[in-house]
């Protein structure tokens, strides 16, 4: 067996195990940590496909930022496991439907040769000196610049909306502007007063 094949199966096995544990782990913090492991291994598999930019971005964005905030929230929750399991049967039809949809999609992708996938030949192997990062950057800022900018605008709007929904001006806080604190001079705080010594 080639070394690359071994690495693929190694990463894939951990990925499948971690993904299973995400939905079967009873403790939500454990589930979130298994999701981190799953992201990390998915990044590894993408690296094998010469997609180093996507792989590293996956780790950087999802593992480094999104999951940290996710854990932040999950750790703060006081989760009652019995309450969580109460709605199992009522949610089952919806969950099953989504599951079946996913299975159909995966079958379509994996069974591609039955649906005329030959019309789309596999891309040629990248040559020497090929940089995935450079290539993505070139395409993103030339051919796809408008969709890219549009997507970033949509995200910006979502971000502003989220901030404005939760922003509350509280009255009566004793917050002091740090710039004012830094700008304080001795003359503004202390006054030296000359006076005669008092006699008893």
């Amino acid at each position: 067996m080639e070394f690359k094949t071994f690495v693929f199966y190694f990463l894939a096995a951990i990925l499948v195990f971690a993904a299973l544990r995400v939905i079967t782990a009873r403790n939500p913090v454990h589930a979130a940590l298994y999701l981190v492991l799953a992201f990390f291994n998915a990044g590894g598999i993408w690296l094998l496909l010469h997609a180093e930019f996507l792989a590293i971005t996956l780790v950087m964005v999802y593992v480094g930022a999104v999951m940290v905030l996710f854990l932040f929230v999950v750790m703060m929750l006081d989760i009652n496991l019995d309450r969580l399991r109460q709605g199992f049967w009522s949610y089952l039809p919806l969950g099953a439907m989504i599951g079946i949809l996913l299975v159909i999609e995966m079958a379509l992708v994996l069974g591609g040769q039955y649906f005329g996938l030959e019309a789309m030949p596999a891309p040629p192997a990248p040559g020497e000196g090929y940089s995935n990062t450079r290539e993505i950057g070139r395409v993103l800022y030339t051919d796809y610049v408008y969709p890219f900018e549009l997507a970033s605008l949509v995200l910006l709007v979502a971000m502003v909306a989220a901030v404005s929904l939760t922003l509350r001006k509280r009255k009566g806080t004793k917050y002091i502007d740090p710039a004012l604190q830094v700008a304080v001079k001795r003359e503004g705080r202390v006054e030296l007063v000359k006076m005669q010594a008092e006699k008893e």
Binding site: I56, V59, M60, V63, G64, A65, F72, M75
Partner: protein, 349 residues
Amino acid sequence: MEAMLQPVADLFGPIWPAVWTLVKIIAIIAPLMICVAYLTLAERKVIGYMQVRIGPNRVGPMGLLQPMADGIKLLLKEIIVPSGANKGLFILGPILALAPSLVAWAVVPFDDGLVLANVNAGLLFLLAITSMEVYGVIVAGWASNSKYPFLGSMRAAAQMVSYEVSMGFALICVLLISASLNLTDIVTTQAQGRFHDMGLSFLSWNWIPLFPMFVVYVISGIAETNRAPFDVVEGEAEVVAGHMVEYSGMTFALFFLAEYANMILVSILTSILFLGGWLSPVGFLPDGFHWLALKTAMILFIFLWARATFPRFRYDHIMRLGWKVFIPVTLVWVVVVAVWMMSPLSIWN
């Protein structure tokens, strides 16, 4: 070298590449661990002198064996796992803290061509790996099942995610002007320009055109490693010792090692990205690893100096500095550098 190693390579057969890489990894990690040990001594000595004390001077000549004594003490102490703790994650926490700070060294170039993995996306790799450092703290804080560690880890999560953003923007400026994510290329592109030809190459390094980014990067580096004055994560007056409250013996030592290994990593990266790595500051002296070591030691001294000088930042001020000062400054500077590069005034052609 190749011919000398050939008989050994034949001995191992097909697993030789793995063995040889392992040897190289040990050749990086072992000196790093010695540096970490002596950085702790240096810190105590430097802070001691700054506070007009003498610092440790009992173990060995001038206290030089103090790190060894500390290491043996920590190794021999009992590891106490609290009964209410989540045992698996409690042990995993310190490991998650140390591992990324060691993995990142894989792409750090020590001299021209002297690097474990000369990957093209080295800078991205570093960003991804250093962004994982926060997990050790969070997992440790939660698994301890105790109030102060939890508060400490929540602070760590917010603080490290915030300062990563400004650090990332500072790195974007560097890669804009060097047009490469490869750390070796980033160093070699600093060895050009008018001042370099005049023999004053320290004026052609990135720290002058990117001076605001240099400052932001060093300060964010201090915040990322949770060092004073940004050490609210373990601020002993408020949360005792943050995520490390429940840890003892070797598990505590791992956090300690991770903190100092991270300090050295941030310092060596600052030297590589902004101070020209192994390049000699003047034309008539040869380049070499000793310059990189000297520059790294300089930045490390700033770390210790800051700790001895500044009082701890209040938590909301840390957040304000990160989000309201550093991120706007870095964002503006990215645009400034991009426009500068495209204008006729560009100095990087």
